[in-house]
């Protein structure tokens, strides 16, 4: 199934990037994304791209998997680039390259388009590094950690975290289920590949109805199982795998801070 190999599916490997605490990785990713938006100069771009390559190298994830993530967003890349080319107003007449009447193409527009495309590529690639090296559950744990302070103002942090964890846990299960249903319907003559758009949309009914029924059944079973084990959120729950910061993690934070300072200095 190609759904499985969409952007940022976890890639199991043994590497420093995989071992890092998921909270640290989340902070690193957010820092990178924010900082990358400040970059203006060519030198700055080289620097952030270099940092990305270091991260990719350390993660031991094959380049092929990372590029696959980019393939999923190429439409977005082109769209942003085109918008920037056509709708960046020229600064002065020297900047203007071509006047199409409805839009003006300028040198600054082309530069802007290129910058945005590179930025987006960097962002997507770096964020996919997060999901490629972190299991969904570890990621949910990290998000829970950062949401926890919100519990004080009445935000249901534990519940939201549990919902996230369950949702993530069931994605592969439901994909498997869907795979099976598609095959079963194909075996009794269904056709999902040919016909008009309308016909193809209609062809989804025999997949979606059984899929929803099975999802509801699973949800029901899970709720019963959780009740049977006395699940409740009004008390603090302990974890089977609690997140622990190691020296590596502190080093990573230090490097990230250093990186952010450097980028802001170079721009």
């Amino acid at each position: 199934m190609n759904i499985r190999t969409a952007i940022g599916q976890y890639y199991p490997a043994k590497s420093i990037a995989h071992e890092l605490d998921s909270r640290v990785k989340l902070v690193m990713t957010i820092t990178y994304v924010v900082v990358a938006f400040f970059v203006e100069s060519a030198g700055g771009y080289c620097f952030v791209t270099g940092a990305l390559f270091v991260a990719v190298y350390l993660s031991k994830v094959p380049l092929k998997f990372i590029l696959r993530g980019l393939r999923a967003v190429w439409a977005l890349l082109i769209f942003t680039a085109v918008l920037n080319v056509f709708f960046t107003p020229p600064i002065d007449s020297a900047d203007l390259l071509l006047n199409l009447g409805f839009a003006q193409i300028s040198e600054s527009g082309l530069i802007m388009a290129a910058k945005m495309a590179v930025r987006l590529m960097l962002l997507v690639t770096f964020s996919s590094m997060l999901t490629l090296t972190t299991t969904p559950l570890a990621l949910a744990d990290a998000i829970e950690f950062f949401l926890a302070p919100l519990a004080k103002i009445g935000f249901p942090a534990a519940e939201v975290a549990m919902m996230m964890t369950i949702a993530l846990r069931f994605i592969p299960t439901l994909i498997d289920e869907m795979d099976k249903i598609i095959k079963a319907q194909k075996a009794r003559g269904a056709d999902f590949e040919t016909g008009s758009l309308m016909r193809r949309v209609k062809a989804l009914v025999p997949i979606l109805v059984p899929l929803f029924i099975s999802a509801f059944r699973r949800a029901d079973d899970l709720a019963t199982a959780m009740e049977a084990r006395c699940y409740r959120t009004d008390v603090k729950r302990t974890k089977l795998r609690s997140l622990k910061m190691t020296r590596q993690d502190y080093m990573a934070i230090l490097m990230t801070a250093l990186f952010a300072v450097c980028v802001l200095a170079i721009r």
Partner: protein, 294 residues
Amino acid sequence: MSIELRNVSYVYNSGTSFEKTALRDINIKIEPGEFVGIIGHTGSGKSTLIQHFNALLPPTEGLVLLNGEDINADKNRLKDVRRRVGLVFQYPEHQLFEVSVYKDVAFGLKLMSLEHLEADRRVRAALSAVGICEDYYEKSPFELSGGEKRRVAIAGVLAMEPEILILDEPTAGLDPRGRDEILSQIKHMREELKITVILVSHSMEDVARLVDRVFVLNNGEIALSGTVGEVFSRAGELEAMGLSAPQITYLMKELAASGFNVRENIYTVEEAAKELLSLWESREKQGYSNFTKR
């Protein structure tokens, strides 16, 4: 219609780090009208194997031949292949979706652009073949019992009038009554429709009772094959693969070992009953008043 797998191998996620060989050099030939069983441990490749018969999975290597023709050769004919080779998956009731039993069974036919009368005839024939009577036609498939749902789902495949019917664990998760119903319907169906049936099962009892020939799959390879007697007489090898002979075979072996004059090569309860009865009768003739050891 004969179906043949020739040197079929299948590799999941070929070319990635998740690569896994599921089938290795499989050779199977099934003649028209045969009733064949496929047994194997969980993860032995049974489900992967049967999806080759109707081209849901194309082999990584090798050929799948339907009457001598490669079924994967022409993409446009896949639908035709899937109509001729009906595959009923495990828990087929999970594929039900229509508002009524009748409509659900007619689902595949609707896409075949059949004449209305012909489609109606086929739906009725399929439902009667699995023993679902007319009172059920307008019921929602979701209000039926587990065994009934399953029979309706099987009818959905039968309505396509396949020449080969493949059933993957048709009795899984059913209570003994639902199980007996399904099995006797399968037997009845085969005799009436004269189609080739391939039965995948965990239950040695079911296989011994129904099929003519057995293939044993182990780690993606055909480990044993032959008639029920040939395969189940090798209980030791089966046990090494995490399988077994039917329970009744073990009972008869123990009886023979403890001195009763019974055959050991018995694989069904019916055969065993006959054997014990004839032993009983022969002893009565000989003047024994009760059923004791020699």
